[in-house]
């Protein structure tokens, strides 16, 4: 038992690379989550607004948006990341490293979060929108003051789900040179048969997900007055 532990702490893959890899994962997930929120929230609201029963139904716009979102969501992330390599290179100057991984992660997460936004906003009863309309509110006022505000708990839960999906995507991104915990697990744990590295990576990822979920739940509850 003692030997196993001291082995663990003398393995440079763990002592040197693990903190670095964890930080890379956090940066990758953090930046892409932020960008996914910035892109996914308006896209989700646009989907809802143009949809049937929305504030401004536009059948053709909605169909097009829906198609784009569905294509984005139907590609397995690893395929999406590979397909985007030329684009990624043109944006970040390289296809390697965590900075490069932010590009496919964001592109993958935006449609994912947009759908979650759409379904959260759809839960707001039509009567509340009507009450706002009758108060003379404009569409923009209804969008922010009623739809977003009333669905905030759902939006927070959806964002938590998105961030956790990003953690798992980021591990996949590791397979194609993004760095982070996924890369560490694959290059040492799998390619060099160091199963202790694999196990430690898995534990860190599980802890990270637990932490994110707990934080998400706490925030969702804090903004929920229902």
């Amino acid at each position: 038992m003692g030997d196993w532990l001291s082995d663990l702490f003398s393995n440079p893959a763990i002592t040197d690379r693990l903190p670095e890899a964890t930080l890379e994962t956090l940066l990758m997930v953090g930046w892409s989550a932020l960008l996914a929120a910035v892109g996914g929230l308006p896209l989700g609201l646009w989907l809802h607004t143009t949809g049937p029963g929305g504030l401004r139904p536009r059948r053709s716009v909605n169909a097009l948006l829906s198609l784009v979102v569905n294509v984005g969501r139907s590609l397995p992330f690893i395929i999406l990341a590979i397909a985007l390599i030329p684009f990624t290179r043109s944006v970040t100057g390289s296809a390697l490293g965590w900075q490069a991984a932010v590009v496919p992660l964001t592109v993958g997460a935006i449609p994912f979060f947009a759908r979650l936004v759409e379904s959260a906003v759809r839960e707001v009863p039509a009567g509340k929108v009507e009450a706002a309309q009758l108060a003379g509110a404009s569409r923009a006022q209804i969008l922010t003051g009623v739809l977003v505000r009333e669905s905030l708990p759902g939006l927070v839960s959806g964002f938590t789900v998105t961030v956790i999906a990003l953690v798992s995507y980021s591990a996949m991104a590791g397979a194609i040179g993004a760095g982070g915990l996924g890369f560490l697990a694959i290059s040492y744990g799998y390619n060099r048969f160091q199963s202790d590295v694999m196990i430690v990576c898995v534990i860190v990822i599980v802890l990270l997900v637990q932490l994110l979920q707990t934080a998400g739940d706490l925030i969702a509850r804090a903004v929920d007055h229902r």
Binding site: P125, G127, K128, E130, A131, A132, Q133, L134, A135, G136, A137, S138, Q141, G145, V146, R149, E150, L152, V223, H225, R226
Partner: protein
């Protein structure tokens, strides 16, 4: 300029694949300023469509809607937002914003109308007081009872000083005691603020309790209407019978009879003189300033024809269940 609500030739047709559905079929209605008008009818009669046309949440197929002389149905989007500020709406499901406190809910229309914050606070306090919730402004809707929520809903509807208050089944989700309180509040608000009130309801008790006048809506048409006193004085009509309900009796050999209360003495002397007739149930009520009596009478089957004729002769308005008259 005409104050209040004026509907002229209002029609609403929903084109559906299986044929058009006519929800409103030529509604003419005038509710003068400061009146409380009830619109009753069974579900599907078109009540909600009617109120939605007044708010322009629904565009009428044809006809006009005037609120204080201003056309609601023809208004463009910008005008509509302005006209709508003259309309306060109270919903059955209340539709408060859950993410906002009671005070913030009431302040919402004021915020939209860009009322300065200081004035807003003042007005909110005033309205909380008006609806009997002073001090509860900081509560979220989830922390309020059904009746309190509806009070907040009424305060929100009144916030921007509308001239018209539309109530769509305002008490249908409430218990009997709370219903009475909310209706008293609506009347009180009318008395103090002078708003014109249109109440949509399927409950006759709501009409009895607060309305000055009433319309009966049936399949998209107004089939009966008038001031309450006048309506109950028209013996035997559907509204008159439903507004003054008789106690339930088990007997199937009964007929219903209505009479003007001034004639009570003669009516009872006459009934006493008719063979085979006995009073099974009765009620005398004053509604809209008019006193009306209604009786349910047991009539012996073998003397039915003679008894009915004698009752009518005595000045009673006799109603027989459909199809029984011939028997």
């Amino acid at each position: 300029m005409t104050d209040g609500i004026v509907l002229t030739g209002l029609r609403k047709v929903y084109p559906l694949r299986g044929g058009d559905v006519v929800a409103l079929d030529g509604i003419d209605l005038r509710v003068p300023r400061g009146a409380i008008h009830g619109i009753v009818g069974e579900s599907g009669a078109g009540k909600s469509t009617l109120v939605r046309c007044v708010t322009a949440l629904e565009r009428p197929t044809s006809g006009t809607v005037l609120v204080d002389g201003e056309a609601v149905d023809a208004a463009g989007e910008r005008d509509l937002r302005r006209v709508r500020r003259r309309i306060g709406m109270v919903f059955q499901q209340v539709n408060l914003f859950d993410a906002r406190t009671a005070a913030e809910n009431i302040a919402y229309p004021l915020r939209i109308a860009k009322v300065p914050a200081a004035r807003r606070r003042e007005r909110v306090a005033e309205l909380l007081d008006l609806v009997g919730l002073a001090g509860r402004g900081g509560s979220y809707p989830a922390q309020l009872s059904g009746g309190q929520k509806q009070r907040v809903g009424i305060a929100r509807a009144l916030a921007a000083d509308p001239s018209v208050l539309l109530c769509d089944e305002p008490t249908s989700a409430l218990d009997a005691a709370t219903t009475r309180q909310i209706l008293a509040l609506i009347r009180d608000v009318r008395d103090r603020v002078g708003v014109t009130v249109l109440i949509i309801t399927h409950e006759m008790s709501v009409v009895r309790e607060v309305c000055d006048s009433v319309s009966l809506l049936d399949r998209g048409r107004i089939v009966e209407h008038g001031p309450i006193g006048e309506v109950v004085g028209r013996h035997g009509t559907r509204l008159a019978r439903e507004l003054i309900p008789l106690p339930v009796t088990a007997d199937s050999t009964t007929v219903e009879a209505a009479f003007a209360v001034e004639h009570t003495g003669e009516v009872f002397r006459a009934i006493g003189g008719i063979d085979g007739v006995a009073v099974a149930a009765g009620t005398v009520e004053t509604l809209g300033g008019v006193r009306v009596g209604r009786l349910r009478l047991d009539v012996a089957p073998d003397r039915r024809a003679a008894a009915l004729a004698a009752l009518r002769q005595a000045g009673l308005h006799v109603t027989v269940a459909p199809g029984e008259e011939a028997a």
